[in-house]
C-alpha cells in the first residue's frame, strides 16, 4: 500500500549494526473504509462521556456528592492552582539571624536572559561575608520566569517557590519588586493595583 522512500544514498558503515527500521503504515481495512462502524465507535465514546458527565453534574446538583462534575477550575472565582514545582514569584532567603543570604555575587544578574535583575553591592559589616546587596530589584514585567537565577545562585539566596502568579499593576514602575518586598519584610503597596494617571 505504501511506496517506500527510495534509498538515495548508501547507509554509512557506522550504522551497519543498527538495522534499518521499516515503518509500515496501517492499511485501512474494509470496516474502516466504509466509515460507518467507525462513526458508531466515535459516537459510543462521546456518548459515554456525555452521559457519565451528565450523571456527575446531576449528582452534584442534587447534592449527593460535593465533587464538581467537571475538572474545570473557574479561575477568577476559585484561586489559581499552581503546581508545587512551578516557577512563580521570586523571594530572597534570609540567614538565621535575619540578614539576607545574598552576597551580591552578581551571578543571577549575569545569567538573567531578560536582564531584569538590578543589584548594587556594598561592603558587608561582617568580614567573613565581604559583600552584600544594597539594592536588589527584580522587574517582574521583564522577567520570563526561566528560573536561571535560582540555578545560578551559589548561596541559595533566591528561590521561585512563593506560588504567587498574580502580579499585575497599572504601571511599569509597580512591577519592580525591591529587596525588602522580595525578602517579605514589606508588603507590596496595595495602591499599586489602583489605576493611577
Amino acid at each position: 500500500m505504501t511506496d517506500p522512500a527510495p534509498e538515495t544514498q548508501e547507509r554509512p558503515a557506522s550504522l551497519a549494526r543498527h538495522p534499518a527500521r521499516i515503518v509500515t503504515r496501517p492499511v485501512m481495512r474494509f470496516q474502516e473504509r466504509i466509515y460507518l462502524i467507525e462513526v458508531w465507535h466515535g459516537l459510543v465514546i462521546t456518548s459515554r462521556h456525555f452521559f457519565v458527565n451528565l450523571w456527575r453534574h446531576t449528582r452534584r446538583a442534587i447534592g449527593l456528592v460535593a465533587r464538581a462534575g467537571a475538572v474545570t477550575i473557574q479561575y477568577p472565582d476559585d484561586p489559581a492552582v499552581v503546581a508545587k514545582r512551578g516557577r512563580t514569584r521570586h523571594r530572597l532567603m534570609k540567614r538565621e539571624d535575619g540578614t539576607p543570604r545574598c552576597v551580591a555575587c552578581m551571578m543571577c544578574e549575569t545569567v538573567c536572559p531578560a536582564k531584569c535583575i538590578k543589584i548594587v553591592a556594598e561592603e558587608s559589616p561582617d568580614v567573613m561575608i565581604e559583600k552584600r546587596a544594597k539594592i536588589f530589584d527584580i522587574d517582574m514585567g521583564l522577567c520570563v520566569f526561566c528560573g536561571y537565577c535560582v540555578e545560578a545562585c551559589p548561596e541559595d539566596a533566591i528561590r521561585m517557590d512563593t506560588g504567587q502568579v498574580e502580579m499585575s499593576s497599572f504601571n511599569r514602575q509597580d512591577m519592580v519588586w525591591n529587596m525588602q518586598e522580595l525578602l517579605g519584610n514589606k508588603k507590596k503597596d496595595p495602591a499599586a493595583n489602583v489605576p493611577r494617571l
Binding site: L36, V39, G42, L43, I45, T46, S47, H49, F50, N53, L54, H57, G69, A70, V71, T72, Q74
Partner: protein
C-alpha cells in the same frame, strides 16, 4: 367553533415558526453545553441576570443583544441590496419549511376536524424539499454580493456541496415514498401507524434502515452542519459569510439551526413514525388528548434527532472538500439508487 379556517391556519403557522425560532435559540445553548459535557468541561455559564445563571441559559439572550447592537457592515465593494437580502431570504425559506411539518394528527372537536399540521399540503414533502433547495440562493447571493473573492469562492463551494447532496437526498427518499405511496407528510405518518407482527412499529427506520442512514448523512450535509460544515468553516476555512457582521451574521447562524430542526422534523415524520407512540392506541384515550400527546411525541422525537445531530457534530472531524464530493456522488448516490431499486422490487412483489 368560532375559529375560522384562515385564522386557525395563521395561528398554527405562528406557533410552528415560534417553535422553530425558540428551539433554534435554545440550540445555541445546547450546542455549547453538549460540547462542554462531552469534553469534560462546564461550558458557558457566565451570563447572569440579577445573580441568576440558570445553567448559562441566558447566553443565547446575551448573544442576541450582542448581535443586534453590533455594527451591520456592508463592504464598500458589496451590493447593498443583495447583501442585505441574502440572510433574510435564507431564513424565510427555512421557516416556510417549518410550517409544512406534520406536528400532529387531526383533532376532532365537536364534530369539527382541525388539522394540527400548519400547512396541510398534499405534496408537503416536495414543498419542504423545494424550500430547502432554494436555500442555496441565499448562500450564493451572500457570497456574490459581498464583493470579496473569498466569500464568492466560499459561496460557490457551499452551492456545490448543497446541490451534490440534494441529488443524494432526493434519491434516498424515493425508497420510503414507494412504501408510503404518498407525498403528503401527514399521510406518510399515518401509514406508519400499524406494526409489523404486532411488536415492531412500522416506522421508516425499521423498514428502510439504509435510507435512514443515507438521509441523515445527506441531510447533515444539506444543512451545512459538521462534519460537513465546509461552507461555514467557522474559524478555519473562509466561508460565504465572512463579510457579514451583526444580526445578519446571526441570521445565517439561526438559519443553520432552523434547517437542522427541519431536517429533524422530516426525519421524524418519514422514519420515526411522526406523532405515533407505540402502544398508546390500546389506552383508548379521548381523541383530542390522543392528538395532543401525539404533538408532544413529535416534539420529543425532533429533540432526540437534534441531540443525535449535535452528538455527531462534536464527534467527527470535518471532511476535506474532495472527500465530501466523493462521499456524495460516489457513495451516497449509488447506495440510494440501490435502495430505491430494491424497495421498488419489494413493493412490486408485495403487490403494492
Amino acid at each position: 367553533m368560532a375559529l375560522t379556517e384562515p385564522f386557525w391556519t395563521f395561528l398554527k403557522i405562528a406557533a410552528a415558526v415560534g417553535f422553530g425560532l425558540n428551539v433554534a435559540g435554545l440550540l445555541g445553548w445546547v450546542e455549547r453545553k453538549q460540547s462542554a459535557v462531552i469534553q469534560d468541561r462546564i461550558g458557558a455559564n457566565r451570563a447572569e441576570i440579577f445573580g441568576f445563571r440558570v445553567l448559562g441559559l441566558f447566553h443565547p439572550l446575551a448573544d442576541a443583544i450582542k448581535m443586534m447592537t453590533k455594527e451591520d457592515f456592508v463592504p464598500p465593494e458589496g451590493m447593498r441590496l443583495w447583501h442585505g437580502m441574502a440572510p433574510g431570504l435564507s431564513l424565510l425559506f427555512s421557516m416556510l419549511c417549518l410550517a409544512a411539518l406534520p406536528y400532529g394528527d387531526k383533532i376532532v372537536l365537536g364534530g369539527h376536524a382541525l388539522s394540527l399540521q400548519p400547512l396541510p399540503l398534499s405534496a408537503g414533502l416536495v414543498f419542504v424539499l423545494a424550500m430547502l433547495s432554494v436555500g442555496v440562493h441565499g448562500v450564493v447571493m451572500a457570497g456574490w454580493s459581498s464583493g470579496s473573492a473569498y466569500s464568492l469562492i466560499g459561496g460557490l463551494r457551499g452551492a456545490a456541496q448543497m446541490i451534490s447532496y440534494e441529488v443524494a437526498l432526493l434519491t434516498t427518499l424515493a425508497g420510503p415514498l414507494f412504501l408510503y405511496g404518498t407525498l403528503d407528510l401527514a399521510e406518510a405518518v399515518r401509514w406508519q401507524a400499524h406494526s409489523i407482527g404486532g411488536i415492531v412499529p412500522a416506522w421508516g427506520i425499521f423498514l428502510q434502515p439504509l435510507a435512514f442512514i443515507l438521509f441523515m448523512t445527506a441531510g447533515a450535509a444539506e444543512t451545512k452542519r459538521a462534519p460537513f460544515d465546509l461552507p461555514e468553516g467557522e474559524a478555519e476555512i473562509v466561508g460565504y459569510f465572512i463579510e457579514y457582521s451583526g444580526m445578519r451574521f446571526g441570521m445565517f447562524l439561526m438559519n443553520d439551526f432552523i434547517e437542522s430542526i427541519v431536517l429533524a422534523g422530516l426525519t421524524t415524520a418519514l422514519f420515526l413514525g411522526g406523532w405515533h407512540v407505540p402502544g398508546l392506541a390500546h389506552l383508548h384515550l379521548s381523541q383530542p388528548v390522543f392528538a395532543l400527546i401525539g404533538v408532544g411525541a413529535f416534539v420529543v422525537k425532533v429533540m432526540a434527532v437534534l441531540w443525535l445531530l449535535m452528538q455527531i457534530r462534536w464527534t467527527l472531524p470535518r471532511f476535506r472538500f474532495d472527500q465530501l464530493l466523493d462521499l456524495g456522488w460516489k457513495n451516497l448516490l449509488p447506495l440510494a439508487i440501490l435502495n430505491t431499486l430494491v424497495t421498488a422490487w419489494a413493493v412490486f412483489l408485495a403487490g403494492g
